[in-house]
Symmetry: none
Subunit: 159 residues, 2 copies
DNA sequence: CGCAGAATGGTACCAAAGTATGACACTCAT
DNA sequence: ATGAGTGTCATACTTTGGTACCATTCTGCG
């Protein structure tokens, strides 16, 4: 519950969601009108709705997935992590006191992402990524991203 | 694309996907017929398609989400993950055609060593280490040491 | 309300990583 | 002996990573 509230707590998210919904209604109305004119549009109608809602579903899943992958979030909202082989060491993870955002960055870091990659993925500036990464270094007591990877792998705090 | 293939590699996935598609076609056909009878069904038609594809989108996202990582280079791996335990995957290791010295460097690299660290450990100059590392990058098809670590971990070619 | 903490972003600067290219010596098999 | 492969090292250059310091905005809490 908290994580959902947290996700949509910023104004930006509300605006984005609103715009998306408005766009959806608009497209549906337009398609509906178009649909009444010619029968050929029926297939197009179906197809477009399918594509739109598939993308919407992906987006929803990603939104939910983000909040479910944060540490310290005691309650996970309905969506459990997909069956991963080895479990993440939550004990060690809690010890590090990483913020949710920092853990997100850490996960991308562990996949070999560059700062620019992380920035692009999370829609951040490189500056912000650097800030997060630096804080991660302090909390993990390491001096480089390769050491971070090694330690994260050793502590088993990433999938 | 390859990650998708990887996801659908098991027979169970094929069966599930086939059943889902068959069900979809059936429902669509039925709804289409129903639609010709009464105009009220149009809204239901749209709604059901929307719900179905939203769920499909969520499913797709969750299938792709946890394993597909596309850093800047946008290169995809064809290698199926070997479910080996702790032993080093000699098969993959041989494929890479790393020279003995290169493998030595790789092992230190995987421990989070900097180029200077590696040079000091192996009694080499930093230049030499850089050369080795560059060749490792080419053979592993990566662009940075963090990507190297990630891939080496995934291929299970280091301890 | 005011404050702490999280998240974001910026500038400036230095260190490290990475690329490109060339060179030299050694081994080993054809 | 010749060429391929390896290992070594160098210079010059570009890119990325990392640190330090500061500012702004938003949220949660007492």
């Amino acid at each position: 519950m908290n994580s959902i509230r947290q996700r949509f707590s910023t104004i930006r998210h509300f605006v984005l969601y609103g715009v998306a919904l408005a766009l959806l209604v608009f497209v549906l109305k337009w398609l509906h009108w178009k649909f009444l004119i010619t029968d050929l549009a029926a297939e197009l109608y179906t197809g477009l709705i399918a594509v739109f809602f598939t993308i919407l579903g992906i987006w929803v899943a990603r939104q939910l997935g983000r909040s479910s992958s944060t540490p310290g979030a005691a309650e996970v909202d309905t969506i459990p992590l997909p069956p991963t082989g080895d479990k993440i060491n939550m004990v060690e993870l809690e010890k590090l006191q990483l913020s949710p955002r920092e853990y997100e960055v850490l996960q991308l870091l562990a996949r070999g992402y560059s700062n620019a990659d992380i920035a692009a993925t999370l829609f951040l500036s490189v500056s912000t990524v650097k800030t997060h990464v630096s804080r991660i270094f302090v909390k993990l007591d390491v001096k480089s991203r390769t050491q971070t990877l090694e330690k994260a792998k050793r502590l088993n705090i990433i999938e």
